[in-house]
Amino acid sequence: MLDAFVQGLLLILQWKAFAFMLAGIFVGFWVGLLPGLGGATTLALMLPFIYNMEPVEAFAFLLGMHSVVATTGDVTSILFGVPGEATTAAIILDGHAMAKKGEAGRALGAALASSLVGALIGAAALALAIPIVRPLVLTFGSPELFMLAIVGLAFIASLSAQGARGMVRGFLAGGLGLFLAMVGQDPQAGVARYTLDTLYLWQGLDLVPVLVGLFAIPEIIDLVVRGTSIAGNAPAGRINRGALEGVKDVFRNFWLTIRCALIGTFIGITPGLGGAVAQWMAYGHATQSARTPEERKGFGQGDVRGVVGPGAACNSKEGGALIPTIAFGVPGSTSMAILLGGFFLLGLVPGPDMLTKHLPVTFSLVWTIVLANIITVAACFLLLNRLTALTAVQGHLLVPVVLVLVFIGSYTSNSSYADIIVTIVFGAVGYFMVLAGWPRAPLVLGLVLGKIAENYLYISVARYDFAWLMRPVVVVLLILAVGVIFYPAVQAWRSRKPA
């Protein structure tokens, strides 16, 4: 095993494999920065190029590209409030709020350092999980996966707003997300639901146009209203100086970083939940780390823990997602499904062979994640001053550029103008939600989890009738969901109780 581990490193350090990894990192760096241009799409675009490569070179190229997309996606999310990737939307809430306070450097430092820690934990999980992963994943059937989706939704809905009314708004937003997830052809009977008799809506609402509209349009409107740069009137000197402080923040909140990285890894391992869930779950957990309701008020206004948590989860999920892909050929996400295609193109069959005959290749994947993230984070730190300086650019120069990127990013999801209409409509929805003080996070999570939850609920009922509710893991998850809902109320009651 140790031999294979070292051999994996040596394989990736061969000049050709290393050069391909650098090429992949270069592509991934820019793909991550550009809103809407997704990692999965680019992975698919790059797949034809690997035909003539050796397996190690091909995976160095593909995985090198894919594993840095989330890191640079965080940069766009923090600086412009536009999700660089669908999986990096949660970091906007506090990261962009910090940028607006002139703390872009600190937010970026925290995001990059936590991303690196997350990536290392994800890679370590991949390396350690190889011999023990099978029983873990096999304990989760459809009922457990459905309950996991419910826990995730309860988690974010109850924690993203305060008080009874805040919680109602959280669940309203989550319910709206679940409703939107039902748009399109029903997977069980093929009925077209809520499609308004339009062909475009038959396939359901695409996540990217919805996310871009929901988050970018209110930011653009606010930028026009303020008439200043993103960082507003914050002193220019502070913008560039906080990066080291951000790195320190990661170590000040080290256990939060580790816990969020583990959440990301677990979400990555669980097939079908998808990467977009990881950051929101981690954000919910970071919010929960606030000890008092007053402390929780700081979330959404630029609390660095709201950056550290999602930053760590976003990259750790990649290592986690590789585990079921390699071990069982069950991809945990769209990107992993495309990567699985890469395995077959190269004549490799995921499963026992990857854990025995091709073990050095498997470990080379672990090393690719580690090296690609170290190189990217180093490059980002070198470019940090130039990147953060963008928050000092006047709003009237940024607005047209961001608007162009928003519309192109949205249009490229399905190459349809209808995508732009969806973006504009959800831009209006996002604006009114912000104006009314409603949380947007539960809506996104509801949209992401809706289809999955419906499928798993249907399979659970069809397979077990109502007996699925009695399965031990389901009961544990149900108790967890109830606990998550009532935890803020208990916390508020304890803080009011006289000492």
């Binding site: 805040g166 309203l172 039902m182 639901r193 206004q301 608007l403 519309f407």
Partner: protein, 158 residues
């Protein structure tokens, strides 16, 4: 304004949920199970929020989310919000009419001149840089197809 926005959202969600329930009634059980499970509580929760707003009880605390800046007078903020919405919708209309390759430079230049009050030379150079980035990355490198606008190539793109 916050309460009016909340009222609007609650009413919109109630209407959406009611439509969701009404539409689902005609579907087979396996298609309507999940919509009913979601829409019925959604309708009730939206009703609760509506009552909260109308009765003015239970002060709501803002969510852990982005907050709109409040540094300008409400009428200035409203005017600028409408202006931003106008630019956004106008850009989309321009894309529909003339396609991305023409709409991008026209919008960037117009925004810099009208909204930013920048000089002719700076606006032209900035627009050229944005257009080169757009053309170089999306058309030359990624070969993304952008349809001609309705004025030039029929009613495609949907």
């Amino acid at each position: 304004m916050t309460n009016r926005a909340s009222l609007g959202l609650a009413v919109a969600i109630m209407a959406l949920a009611a439509w969701g329930i009404y539409s689902a009634l005609d579907w087979p059980l396996k298609s309507k199970l999940f919509p009913l499970v979601i829409c019925v509580p959604l309708f009730c929760l939206a009703g609760a929020e509506l009552l909260w707003v109308v009765l003015g009880k239970g002060a709501a605390r803002a969510a852990s989310d982005f907050k709109l800046s409040a540094e300008h007078a409400p009428e200035v903020a409203r005017r600028r919000t409408l202006l931003a919405a106008g630019w956004t919708v106008g850009f989309f209309a321009l894309i529909l009419l003339v396609g991305f390759p023409i709409a991008v430079p026209v919008m960037v230049f117009a925004y810099l001149k009208v909204q930013g009050r920048e000089g002719w030379i700076f606006s032209a150079i900035f627009t050229a840089a944005v257009w080169l980035f757009f053309y170089g990355l999306f058309e030359l490198l990624l070969h993304l197809h952008f349809p001609d606008g309705w004025l030039f190539g029929g009613f495609g793109g949907f």
